[in-house]
């Protein structure tokens, strides 16, 4: 029993991290904020790297790996703030032609009635008729609202888990950003990270991140609905609160459009409304307790 990623899994994660650093680094991020739109070339490059087809069997042209690998990939996407309907496209690989290779961009109507990246997508799953754009809080996630969303069943647990993995990536990244800043920025003649009030904020960020990591990776192994719901709650909390704390550590700089911090917070907010939101996961876990399985 070892919950840590294997050597192969780490290699996969590292290669994706390199790809994203090269193709979607700080400059590309800025450009994406300034001129929103999906970078189709990047999307195809991700497809070529197997990003959307990790779980698709090799016989169907996929990579033939499992949820753990997909979770690591989505964690990297979360870290890098990679835009686009990633989870929907990944879930459509194998059913919607071109999704696996990144040729076709697939989005889906969420149970809550929101659709991400509607205009930029080639295929919409679910009934998006009458969808109206809203002014999205996240500059990197265009959103539409469907006026009367058809009642859909419970959210796909894999979508929930991949979202949790993205949140985990955010949590880890904002903790890193906060720590870097806390080491570099000096006030009162010492790095602000030497002040306990700041140090303890950072420590709590790490504790939330590592607890969420254990929950997300374990859920990737068991794929159990309660484990996935737990992963979701912990990762949402780690990303949401972590981004706020990161902002706090950055002071006035954290409140600027210029800084990267608000992008993490806003994306964390968007993700926390996906797939039934937090309430749905809480209810599932409550029911699990009385079902005697908890």
């Amino acid at each position: 029993m070892r919950l840590h990623p294997t050597d192969d899994q780490r290699a996969l994660r590292d290669s994706l991290r390199r790809l994203l650093a090269r193709r979607f680094g700080a400059v590309a991020l800025r450009a994406a904020v300034a001129g929103p739109g999906l970078d189709r070339a990047l999307w195809r490059e991700l497809g070529a790297a197997g990003f959307f087809a990790l779980r698709l069997p090799e016989a169907d042209g996929g990579v033939g790996l499992g949820l753990p690998e997909a979770v690591l990939a989505f964690e990297e996407a979360g870290r890098a703030l990679l835009p686009g309907p990633l989870a929907a496209t990944c879930l459509a690989a194998g059913t919607v032609s071109g999704a696996a290779t990144g040729e076709t961009v697939v989005t889906a109507v969420d149970g809550g009635g929101l659709v991400e990246w509607l205009d930029a997508s080639d295929t919409v799953l679910g009934d998006a008729s009458g969808a109206v754009p809203l002014r999205s809080v996240d500059p990197l996630t265009p959103l539409h609202r469907v006026p009367a969303p058809a009642s859909v069943g419970p959210p796909d647990p894999v979508a929930v888990l991949l979202t949790a993995a993205e949140q985990l990536g955010t949590a880890a990244r904002v903790c890193e950003l906060a720590v870097q800043h806390a080491r570099a920025r000096k006030q009162f003649g010492q790095p602000i990270g030497a002040f306990q009030a700041v140090k303890h904020l950072c420590a709590d960020m790490l504790v939330r991140t590592e607890t969420a990591r254990a929950a997300v990776y374990a859920a990737a192994v068991t794929a159990g609905p309660a484990d996935i719901a737990a992963a979701r709650l912990l990762a949402d909390e780690a990303a949401g609160r972590g981004s706020r704390d990161c902002l706090q550590v950055h002071g006035g700089m954290g409140f600027t459009w210029e800084s990267e911090v608000h992008l993490h917070l806003k994306r964390a907010w968007v993700r926390s409304h996906r797939a039934g939101g937090v309430t749905e996961s809480e209810e599932l876990l409550a029911a699990d307790l009385v079902a005697g399985a908890g």
Partner: protein, 378 residues
């Protein structure tokens, strides 16, 4: 990422489960929390039973994964908790196993494993709590003995202990971390006075300990003279890293009971309470995963002393435990003010978790400095 058990581990689980089913019905009834001699006898008796069945050393020589199985199965079956054996089994013993000489291991470990001797921890002092390295209890050398004088505070189980893992200052001129020595002191030595202290839960769980010219053989020193701070770090790593991990399983059981109580009492219809319970389910599931994660880390490191990941766990767990019993109070409603109701005393004792074994503030500083590499303040 792998959560499967080896055939040997599955076999261990099956045999343990079978044995527990046989032995638990034969145990005497649990003694009252106020009757310390009876509690000691009960806890030692349980350890003896474990020993005779071949499970005594599970906290030490078994692989971390086997230990997790042990916690899961004993808790699931409702087996007794380590109780008075806490210090001996979970941190003094492992420290001696790691740092002691062969003769010391031979002298102290078998009686701990056989359920014959109880240990307590004499670290904290009136003037040395979080700042443990400022401890003042002095030991001067007199031939082949140390002569120890000073006072200790918050010594859990002192009343019924046979031995004390004791920190003393052997060099007051040296920088404070370099003048400390780790001794094993017999609690019946002349000059040892124990005065029980009542906790806010009403019972006497810990004590003050006065040491007046207590003679401790030099042979009972673990580690070198003045090297006690390093040995202390080993002890604290066990205390924070592994000692509480088994309790997570117990918390998950309590959580299930709470949910059933809420259903029976009608409070389940309150969505806020229901979701709070759901959130706690997530929390304790995640904590158990963190225990598994840390066990994997220790296993890869070739066993031995748990790393700073213990502080991450300790921090999160102690707050989760308090939230668990606060939620119990919400389930109980006004009954949470009745000490005869279940969970009310547990709620009180949960308050110690963010203090004992290093306060949450101290753990955050450790995480900030040793995990994140943030600078020390002036």
């Amino acid at each position: 990422m792998d959560l499967t058990y080896t055939p040997q581990e599955e076999d261990f689980r099956a045999r343990l489960r079978e044995w527990l089913a046989e032995v638990l019905p034969t145990l005497p009834p649990k003694p009252s929390p106020d009757d310390w001699p009876a509690r000691r006898a009960y806890d030692l008796g349980w350890q003896r039973a474990l020993h005779d069945a071949g499970y005594a050393g599970v906290h030490w020589d078994a692989s971390p994964t086997t230990r997790l199985i042990f916690w899961e199965e004993t808790e699931r079956a409702g087996a007794p908790y380590v109780g008075a054996n806490f210090v001996g089994l979970l941190h003094a013993g492992p420290t001696i196993a790691t740092e002691g000489t062969p003769a010391q291991r031979e002298r102290w470990l078998p009686p701990i494993l056989r359920g014959e001797e109880v240990w307590c921890q004499g670290f904290s002092e009136p003037e040395a709590g979080s700042d443990l390295a400022s401890l003042r209890t002095r030991a001067r050398r007199d031939g082949d003995h140390y002569v120890v004088s000073g006072s200790k505070l918050w010594t859990s189980h002192a009343e019924v202990a046979d031995w004390c893992e004791l920190l003393v200052r052997t060099d007051s001129a040296a920088p404070r971390h370099r003048g400390i020595t780790w001794l094993a002191m017999p609690m019946d030595a002349p000059g040892v006075t124990v005065r029980p202290l009542r906790t806010l839960a009403g019972s006497a769980e810990f004590a003050e300990m006065f040491l007046d010219e207590v003679r401790v053989p030099v042979a009972d020193r673990v580690g070198a003279e003045n090297d006690g701070w390093r040995v202390t770090m080993v002890t604290l790593s066990f205390e924070r890293g592994t000692a509480f991990a088994g309790e997570v399983v117990a918390c998950r059981r309590v959580l299930g009971e709470l949910a059933r109580e809420a259903r029976a009492g009608g409070r389940w219809d309150d969505p806020a309470l229901r979701r709070r319970l759901g959130r706690l389910n997530a929390e304790f599931r995640a904590l158990w995963r963190l225990v598994q994660w840390n066990a994997g880390e220790t296993e890869t490191a070739g066993g031995g002393v748990p790393g700073v990941a213990g502080s991450v766990f300790k921090l999160r767990y102690s707050h989760a435990r308090q939230e668990l019993y606060d939620t119990a109070a919400a389930v109980l409603g006004p009954d949470c003010l009745d000490l005869d109701r279940p969970w009310v005393l547990d709620r009180l004792s949960s308050l110690s978790y963010t203090i004992a074994a290093g306060t949450s503030q101290i753990q955050r500083t450790i995480v900030g400095e040793r995990v994140l590499g943030l600078p020390k303040g002036r």
